[in-house]
Structures are given as structure tokens and as C-alpha cells.
């Protein structure tokens, strides 16, 4: 049966649990009928490099050489090597081709598919990039076609939901999540099992679930990539969460600046709804749960859990004080579960393989894996997924390959604009919530930006403060005015008007902002200031006393005030 007809058939029929298993088998058979499968990454990272043209070239080449029956060309999500796009993976054997062009596509089909000779000079040579990674959440990324629900089902998708519906009580589902030790991937690291318990215990209806996909940090694209590559994992995670907490309605809150992710999720939801996986009486059981997309206008603060609620309700995305926590009073004052999409995408596998299995991945206090956008001055930037507990050094040097052009490593910013800048001496720090917090950084939503000797740490800290000043919602005084005062102080220091007492001022106002701010934005915004002061105090002194910037970034152009007074 051609896959098109298969789509049609399954689309009209109301699926029952057993049909999922059946569909998976049929689909796998279809997959097996191909000798080769060419996965062309068409995520937001590779499309600008021309991935869509490459995809077309592959399809044409396959026709040209008459190998349509042996070779399947699939449009997939992120393969992970974002710096050498378009990336193309040929199965079996996981041959990863880098920087593929339409011409090269033809050559790959001719040599690899027709002649069976992989084109060695085009292969991605860096084995180490994948060696230390552990693909769990991203296991389907780059392997399945995100637009085809059948691909996801063939890869074992929705079997966890079936398992829940048929064989597990809501309480057993939560117990399994508890056992897994999974913690929120949005940054704070709250125990997911705990959160679910709170919502499950709230005996009020309706209950809501909000999946947080408002990834606002500059240079972070882990959640976007996940949604583009494997949207059904998020949807299935939400469904299981809804089953466990007895929720009635779900929202995926996604920023409108992610058009491809929005489109992918929209299509995925439509397909899932058509196949009786979302909506009323899912898989002909008593369980009903509908999911809606909500587009955000792209404010960084809208990722904060109470701000997201305001935004979903249609209000200005301002955070509000907690308590009451969303689990007690969230959307429209009803109990609401808010989870990051990466957290939710972990759920199907926890249910399929068991919490115990999951708890053995990563480190004892922080189980599982974490997706990071590895960017900045590294040879191999890209989207990586690592087991919790491996060190920053392994990530930056083994996976990332260290700074290019023989430059010296200077610092790494972990956790986005409100993360911390850690120096070389901290590189053996294991990546887990507690260690990072202790060092002054945060897990955040998963950004690792590597900084080399060309960057000035004062300038770097100011960059992130500028970002937070722009993104502060303006509700509470410490964040609105305090951050602005920090920004002014930096401007002065970089203009050569710094005073020695500025350092004490920065320290004291930073800890005030951390303690007194209303929400996470303000509470973490001073992190880059405090960590650069802590680890790179020497550079500040050079700026203030010697009016010198080793990296040559700061102008020290005196303002008028200096001339006057």
C-alpha cells in the first residue's frame, strides 16, 4: 500500500488502541521495503543553507536514477550539526553528509544509493561530536518526518499513551514520573512528579495544561528544534500529563517568531485530531483532551510561568506573585500544570521504558538528558543532547571542539542571558541544576555560549544586561529600575568613567535585585554581572583603574560629564 493511501485510510477511521500497534507494524513494513532512506534536515537551521532545494534535488535524483522503490527521501527535523548544514543522513549506517548542495545530492544518490559507495569526502568527519551525546528527547529528530504522524507511530510513538489508557491508573503514571526523577527542563529544575501530584490533587474542574515553548533566550533554539523535529513527542507527553492529572484542556504556548515550529505543530495537531488522538474520547476511551496552540508576541518574560498564563488568557504577559501557584490557581483561576516542552517530550519514553530505566540515565540527583544549544566560539556549534552530569569541559572541548582558530578559551555562559559566565577553572563542573546554581549560573532553557579571548567580559556582561533591561516587563521596581542602573554603570565603566566604588555598587544592587524581584527574570538577571565580577574581577579593575580593555572592545570615549566635573 502506498504511504499516501495509507494516510488516507487511517485518517478517516476512528482509531482504537490496538490500531496504533497495527499501524506501527504496517508503517514499519513500508519502511523496510526501502533499501535506503535519505533524511534531509529541513529545520530552521538548515533551510537558510538551502535544505529545501537539496530535498528537491534528492527527490529528482532518485527519479532520474530510477531508484524510487529502493530509496525513500524524507524531510526531517534537526540532525544536530547545525553549523555544516544542510545536513543529510543516509540510512542504513547513519552516513552523515555535511554542507550538501543540489549537485552533491545527485552525486550522493548516484554513488551511495545506486553504486553503494558512500561519498567519503562529503561525510561529516567529527565522530566525537556524537560520541558523548545521548539522544533521548531528540531520538527521533532527523530520523522521522515531523509532518507524518505515521513516522512517529512507527518509531514507537503513542504506544506510551496506549499503555497509560489501557493498563495504568493516573496515579501509577505519576508514580512512574516520580520514580524517573525527572525535573523541569525549563530551568528551575522542579520535580515533575511533585508538580503533577499538586495538580492531580487539586479537586477542581476544569484543569489545564500549558506546554511552554516560549524560548526567548538569544542563541537558544533547543525547544524550537524539538518542535520542528518531533512535534508528536510533545503532544503525546501532554496527553499523558493530562491523563495523569485529569486535565481537560491543553495549550501549547509558542512564540510567533518560530513560524516553522508553529506550522509543524499545527499540522501535527490536525493529524492527531483526525486520528482520534486528540479531542473527545481519545482512542475510543473515556479520556478526552484537546490541545490548542497559542502564539506569543515574543516577550522574553512571557516564558515565566505566571506571565505565560496571563498571555494565554489574552492579557499582557506580566508575571504575578506566587502564591497562589498555578497548580492551585492558574489559567482562569483553575488548577494548571505548566511544563516545558522538553520535559513533556521525556514523558512517553519514561512511560514506555519505566521510571527506573530513566533514573539510571544522567547523574543520581539529575536524571535524564538535557538539550543544549551550543553556540559561540566553538568549532562545532549545534544542537546537542547530553546526559546530565557530564562536565562543561566535555561539552565544550570534546563535543564542541573548543574555540576555533587556535584562540584561547576564556569563559562559557551557561543558561542564557540570565545565566552565569564561568571561567576555565570551573570547566570540570558537572552539568546539573545544583552545581550550576552553586557556581552562579543556571540551567536555564539550555544555552551554552562559549566566549574566547577576543571578548571583553565587561562588554559581555553588559550585553546581557541590555537584553534584560529591554525585556523586563516593568512591573516590579527592582527589575525595572535596578537593572537600568546597572546598565548605566556599565556604560560609564566602558566609557572610561568607572570608579572603584562601582564594583561594590554593582554587587550590592545585584543581590538586591535577585532577592527583591517579583519573578525569575529579575531574580536571575544579575547573574552575568555577579559571575563576571567573581571570576573576571581583574578585567573590571583594568577597565576602571587603567582604562584598558584587553580584548580591545571598549572605547573609553569620555562623555561630556567628565570634561565638566
Amino acid at each position: 500500500m502506498s504511504s499516501k493511501r495509507l494516510n488516507f485510510c487511517w485518517g478517516v477511521k476512528k482509531l482504537k488502541p490496538a490500531d496504533i500497534i497495527h499501524l506501527a507494524e504496517t508503517e514499519l513494513d513500508a519502511h523496510r521495503s526501502y533499501k535506503y532512506r535519505i533524511n534531509v534536515c529541513c529545520s530552521s537551521g538548515c533551510i537558510p543553507f538551502g535544505a529545501l532545494k537539496v530535498l528537491k534535488a534528492f527527490e529528482e535524483a532518485v527519479k532520474e536514477f530510477g531508484v524510487q522503490k529502493e530509496c525513500k527521501v524524507a524531510r526531517t527535523g534537526c540532525i544536530g550539526t547545525c553549523s555544516v548544514g544542510p545536513a543529510v543522513m543516509v540510512e542504513p549506517g547513519d552516513y552523515l553528509y555535511q554542507s550538501v548542495t543540489p549537485e552533491k545530492a545527485r552525486q550522493i544518490v548516484r554513488d551511495h544509493v545506486v553504486l553503494g559507495l558512500p561519498v567519503k569526502e562529503m561525510l561529516y568527519g567529527n565522530k566525537a561530536y556524537f560520541e558523548k551525546q545521548h539522544r533521548l528527547v531528540m531520538k527521533n529528530a532527523g530520523k522521522i518526518d515531523p509532518y507524518r504522524i505515521e513516522d512517529y507511530i512507527a518509531a514507537g510513538g503513542y504506544s506510551a499513551l496506549v499503555k497509560c489508557l489501557l493498563r495504568m491508573s493516573p496515579k501509577e503514571v505519576i508514580d512512574e514520573v516520580w520514580l524517573s526523577g525527572l525535573r523541569g527542563r525549563g530551568g528551575a529544575g522542579f520535580k515533575t512528579g511533585q508538580k503533577w501530584t499538586f495538580v492531580a490533587r487539586a479537586h477542581r474542574s476544569p484543569k489545564y495544561i500549558v506546554a511552554n515553548l516560549d524560548e526567548g533566550d538569544p542563541g537558544v533554539f533547543a525547544n524550537r528544534t524539538l518542535a520542528e523535529a518531533d512535534p508528536h513527542a510533545i503532544i503525546e507527553g501532554m496527553l499523558i500529563a493530562a491523563y495523569a492529572t485529569e486535565a481537560n484542556k491543553g495549550y501549547i504556548y509558542i512564540r510567533a517568531e518560530y513560524p516553522l515550529a508553529v506550522e509543524t505543530l499545527k499540522k501535527a495537531l490536525d493529524r492527531a485530531r483526525a486520528m482520534n488522538l486528540v479531542g473527545q474520547n481519545i482512542l475510543e476511551t473515556n479520556f478526552s483532551f484537546d490541545i490548542e496552540l497559542r502564539l506569543g508576541a515574543g516577550a522574553f518574560v512571557a516564558g515565566e510561568e505566571t506571565a505565560i498564563l496571563a498571555s494565554v488568557e489574552g492579557n499582557r504577559a506580566n508575571p504575578r506573585p506566587r502564591p497562589p501557584y498555578p497548580a492551585a490557581s492558574g489559567l482562569w483561576k483553575s488548577p494548571t500544570l505548566i511544563d516545558n516542552v522538553e520535559t513533556l517530550a521525556n514523558i512517553p519514553q519514561i512511560i514506555s521504558h519505566g521510571g527506573l530505566w530513566f533514573s539510571k540515565i544522567g547523574s543520581p540527583t539529575c536524571t535524564g538528558t538535557k538539550c543544549f544549544s551550543l553556540t559561540g566560539k566553538v568549532k562545532n556549534p549545534g544542537l546537542i543532547e547530553i546526559p546530565m552530569g557530564i562536565t562543561l569541559r566535555e561539552v565544550i572541548f570534546d563535543i564542541g571542539g573548543g574555540p576555533p582558530d587556535n584562540k584561547k578559551f576564556k569563559a562559557v555562559l551557561v543558561g542564557g542571558p540570565s545565566g552565569g559566565c564561568l571561567p576555565e577553572t570551573m570547566l570540570d563542573l558537572p552539568i546539573d541544576y545544583e552545581s550550576l546554581t552553586k557556581a552562579g549560573a543556571i540551567m536555564g532553557s539550555g544555552g551554552i555560549v562559549v566566549i574566547d579571548e577576543d571578548s571583553c567580559m565587561v562588554d559581555t556582561a553588559k550585553f546581557f544586561i541590555d537584553f534584560c533591561v529591554d525585556e523586563s516587563c516593568g512591573k516590579c521596581t527592582p527589575c525595572r529600575v535596578g537593572l537600568h542602573k546597572i546598565q548605566e554603570t556599565y556604560t560609564r565603566i566602558m566609557d572610561g568613567e568607572g570608579k572603584p566604588e562601582d564594583l561594590d555598587f554593582l554587587r550590592s544592587i545585584s543581590s538586591y535585585i535577585q532577592d527583591a524581584s517579583l519573578c525569575g527574570l529579575g531574580q536571575t538577571a544579575p547573574n552575568p554581572v555577579l559571575t563576571t565580577l567573581r571570576y573576571f574581577g581583574k578585567e573590571y579593575n583594568e577597565h576602571i583603574v587603567d582604562k584598558k580593555c584587553v580584548a580591545g572592545k571598549c572605547s573609553f570615549k569620555h562623555q561630556v560629564k567628565e570634561d565638566e566635573l
Binding site: 561630556v560 560629564k561 565638566e564 566635573l565
Partner: protein, 180 residues
């Protein structure tokens, strides 16, 4: 106490309305007690030409609006052990600093005062001290040890701060910090 061993007090009048000095004088008979414990060495109330050295306490009224004042204030700081910002102009900039809200205020205020509002011979005089780009409160120019806000500061607050300082204590400004 012989007068030469008594702590030296100076007062200074920058860009302000002299209201703070009036408020100081409003201490009425309390001034007599104060006079017993200090010697007034400089200020609008005394006929001394140059700012003396080794002044113990200097009370300064008014904001810093021109280069001359800024330079003088820095001199005064060098010769004063304790420097007190007296009144809102000295503490916050207050009314003189309202010109900070307009663009290129140094020129704009001169234009307004001497050209736009002049009936005859509109002309910006050349002997006006050069205005600063902005009007500053004292502590943005020099280090200030104590502040007595108010427009004017209540006479009692001035007396309180001076008494405490003369007794070697640090004044506590809770409920004594009313601006305006």
C-alpha cells in the same frame, strides 16, 4: 570654651533660593545655644572673603549649576571634615535641576531668560559663569557626608543634625527626610 578651640562651621550658598539659610536662622533662640558651641567662619552670614582651611562642618545649600560652583565645591570639600547637603537643591537638584528635563538646557535657559523674556536689548551676557550641561546635586560632584532634605529643611532637623554631629554622634534621619 574659648572661641578658637570650638568647631568651625561654614555655610555655602550655591544654586538655591537662600530658603535653607532662612530655615537655619529659623532656629531662633536655639541659635544662641548653637553659637556657644561653634564658631561660624564662612558663609553668606559672615564677611569672610576666602574659604578657610580645616573647617569642621560645612553646610551647603543649593545645587551645582555652573563650572564656577563645581570648582569651588571641590575646593570646599578639600577643606571640610564633614560636608552636609542642606535642603532639596543640594540633595536632589530640585528646582534648579528642572532644566535637566529639556534638551541643551544650558543654552535654552539663557535664551529664555535674556533673549525671549527681554523687552529691550536681548543679549546673553558674557559675564555669567558658564553653565554646566546639567544641574547636579552635590553628591554627584563631591563626596557628601550627611544630607538634610526639605524645601526648606525644617529648622529643627538642621539643629538636630548639627547637635548630633557636635556631640560626635551620627544623626538618624528616619522621620527627618521629608522632601519638599
Amino acid at each position: 570654651m574659648p572661641s578658637n578651640s570650638k568647631p568651625k562651621l561654614a555655610t555655602l550658598w550655591l544654586s538655591g533660593c537662600s530658603g535653607c539659610h532662612m530655615s537655619l536662622l529659623d532656629n531662633d533662640e536655639a541659635l544662641l545655644d548653637l553659637a556657644k558651641n561653634i564658631q561660624l567662619v564662612y558663609g553668606p552670614l559672615v564677611d569672610t572673603k576666602a574659604f578657610p582651611e580645616n573647617v569642621d562642618i560645612t553646610l551647603i545649600e543649593g545645587a551645582v549649576a555652573n563650572y564656577e560652583q563645581a570648582a569651588f565645591l571641590k575646593e570646599v570639600r578639600k577643606h571640610s571634615k564633614i560636608l552636609i547637603a542642606l535642603g532639596d537643591c543640594a540633595v536632589t537638584g530640585n528646582v534648579p535641576a528642572l532644566r535637566n528635563t529639556i534638551k541643551d538646557s544650558a543654552n535654552a535657559v539663557l535664551q529664555r531668560a535674556f533673549v525671549e523674556n527681554s523687552d529691550k536689548q536681548p543679549l546673553i551676557p558674557t559675564d555669567v559663569p558658564k553653565l554646566l550641561r546639567k544641574v547636579y546635586p552635590l553628591h554627584e560632584v563631591v563626596k557628601v557626608d550627611h544630607y538634610i532634605p526639605g524645601c526648606p529643611p525644617p529648622a529643627g532637623n538642621i539643629a538636630y543634625v548639627l547637635t548630633e554631629l557636635l556631640a560626635g554622634k551620627i544623626p538618624i534621619m528616619e522621620n527627618k527626610s521629608k522632601y519638599g
